[in-house]
Amino acid sequence: MAKHKYFNRILAHLVLLLGAAAMILPFVWMVLTSFKSVTESTSMNPFIFFPKTWRAENYLEVWRQNNFLVLYWNTFAMMALRVLCAVMFSAMAAYAFARLRFPGRNFFFSLVLFQMMVPTQIFIIPQYLMVDALGMRNTIFALLFPGLVSAFGTFLLRQFFMGLPKELEEAAKIDGCNIGQTFARIMLPLVRSGLVALGIFTALFSFKDLMWPMIVNTSSDAATLSSALAKIQSAFAVDYPELMAASVLAIWPMLLIYILFQRQFIEGIATSGGKL
């Protein structure tokens, strides 16, 4: 029996290690290739796994040809603003939907639910036309625009607010808090884990978004990391070491944030899934 268990454990590790290798291999290959010369990367006989000399030329070259500092800033500004808007506005609306009674509540909430069922591509042309009409293409505002409010966030945080005990509000009322104060001072701090989860969710998905920045910010000074990569790929088509260097430059910030805050990331995703 004990032997059987031991064997099972080894088998589990084998399967998991194999999977883990498959998860990491593309990233390893990305980094290795980014330090090779084109000749090394296309040498088949012998096939070269590790670059003979770790050359930084590819990084210097893509850094010279693209303004990465601007790309980092654009991406960061978009993420930060989207997180701020989504968390702030969703928390307000979510609290009202969860705890206040007012005419139209059910109707408005059904609009929130309906928005979540519709594929986002259906909004894109009109949103683009709006940004264009405002003369705001190629700006940070354009990147933020579709993320100004979040139906998903409203729904998610409503679930968190509904899980809080009713007595808290009654106590706050007796202490003389009005509804706004009860919301901001008492209830909001209690759904912190929800706010963090929504923030991570929003940051991650805006970082990964490709189509919207590609459409609305066509100038290379207004691109995000993702949309710039798409451009770089069509420009450097065959120079894979440089493409890989650009990819590494584009993904390391998020990867670092993930490694540092992995517990929050994973718990955030897990709770948001559990709440829906």
Binding site: N8, A12, L16, G19, A22, M23, I24, P26, W29, T33, T42, M92, A93, Y95, A96, L100, R101, F102, P103, L111, Q115, M117, V118, P119, Q121, I122, F123, I124, I125, P126, Q127, Y128, L129, D132, F145, L148, V149, A151, T154, N178, I179, G180, L204, L210, M211, L229, A230, Q233, S234, Y240, L243, M244, A246, S247, I251, M254, Q262, I269, A270, G274
Partner: protein, 303 residues
């Protein structure tokens, strides 16, 4: 006296109403401007032939939809989108479930595994697709090199019309496993341990335990994972866009509805036709959602 009490309650209610409206105002105004008006506008645009950037629209009635029905590319895109979904959803969820079950015990290195499996989820699809494309490279790719070591012939992973969709699905599966695993693992941890202990005493095998205890009890989470994965898969764009350009011989066999929408709306600037294409996607997702909701009643056990 009675009158003033009534007035007082009225003021209190009024206060709550105004706070409610005030708090939802930013979100509702945002949703109406950013989402609800655009839905109507997209539906409206689908009856127009549009020139550059939406200027000079000409009303053409159902012409876009008539064109759409006779457009082989639209049918390809519908087929490809469904095929991609059919490949990614079962495979990614099965693997995610396997990993989640393995990680649900007291295995050493559990949180390290969890961290690693989630990594593809935090990388930008644009970057990830580029490295996969490089690994898929016909002449210099890592994968074909591996095949040749095993004495197998090289495969044109990204240009062979028969294979390209599979290559794309592999990237899709690889990217989403970690996300689904984290959700499923959270669901598994909700299952009371006593259930397993009781069935251990009864001498049930691990496999039987999985089907009799785990699967029914995790079914609400599983349902959620299935629904979100289907909806994500139906909207596939990034990977295909980064891997297959319009001149690729496998384009017809890989183009998805969203990619077709993007090309028509923004590459060829025919936003009317693009709108019609995205309406097809909306219809498809609505139909699938309807069936999911019906299926939910059949196989999901809410405790």
């Amino acid at each position: 006296m009675n009158h003033t009490v009534k007035r007082k309650i009225g003021a209190k209610t009024w206060n709550e109403w105004s706070w409610g409206w005030f708090l939802i105002a930013p979100t509702m105004i945002g949703l109406i401007v950013l989402n609800f008006i655009p839905i109507i506008q997209t539906a409206y645009l689908s009856f127009f032939k549009s020139g550059d950037f939406g200027r000079g629209n000409i009303y053409i009635g159902w012409e876009n939809y008539r064109k759409l029905i006779h457009d082989p590319q639209v049918w390809h895109a519908v087929g490809n989108t469904l095929l991609y979904t059919l490949l990614v959803v079962p495979v990614s969820i099965a693997i995610a479930m396997l990993v989640a079950v393995l990680l649900n015990g007291k295995l050493a290195g559990r949180s390290l595994y969890r961290t690693i499996y989630f990594i593809p989820m935090v990388a930008a699809p644009a970057a990830v697709t580029m490295v996969w494309r490089w690994m898929y490279n016909q002449h210099y790719g890592l994968i074909n090199h591996g095949l040749s070591k095993l004495g197998l012939p090289a495969v044109n992973w990204t240009t062979d019309p028969q294979v390209a969709m599979l290559s794309i699905a592999v990237i899709g599966i690889w990217s989403v496993i970690g996300y689904n695993m984290v959700l499923l693992l959270a669901g598994l941890q909700e299952i009371p341990k006593d259930f397993y202990e009781a069935s251990d005493i009864d001498g049930a095998s691990r496999v039987r335990q999985f089907f009799v205890i785990t699967l029914p009890l995790v079914s609400p989470t599983l349902f959620f994972v299935v629904v979100t994965t289907i909806i994500q898969a139906m909207q596939v764009f990034d990977v295909i866009y980064m891997m297959i350009d319009v001149s690729n011989p496998a384009y017809d066999h890989t183009v998805s509805l969203v990619y077709l929408f993007y090309n028509n709306s923004f590459k060829y600037s025919n936003k009317g036709y693009g709108s019609a294409v995205v309406m097809v996607l909306l219809a498809l997702i609505m139909i699938i959602t309807f069936f999911q909701m019906r299926a939910q009643k059949k196989w999901v056990n809410y405790m």
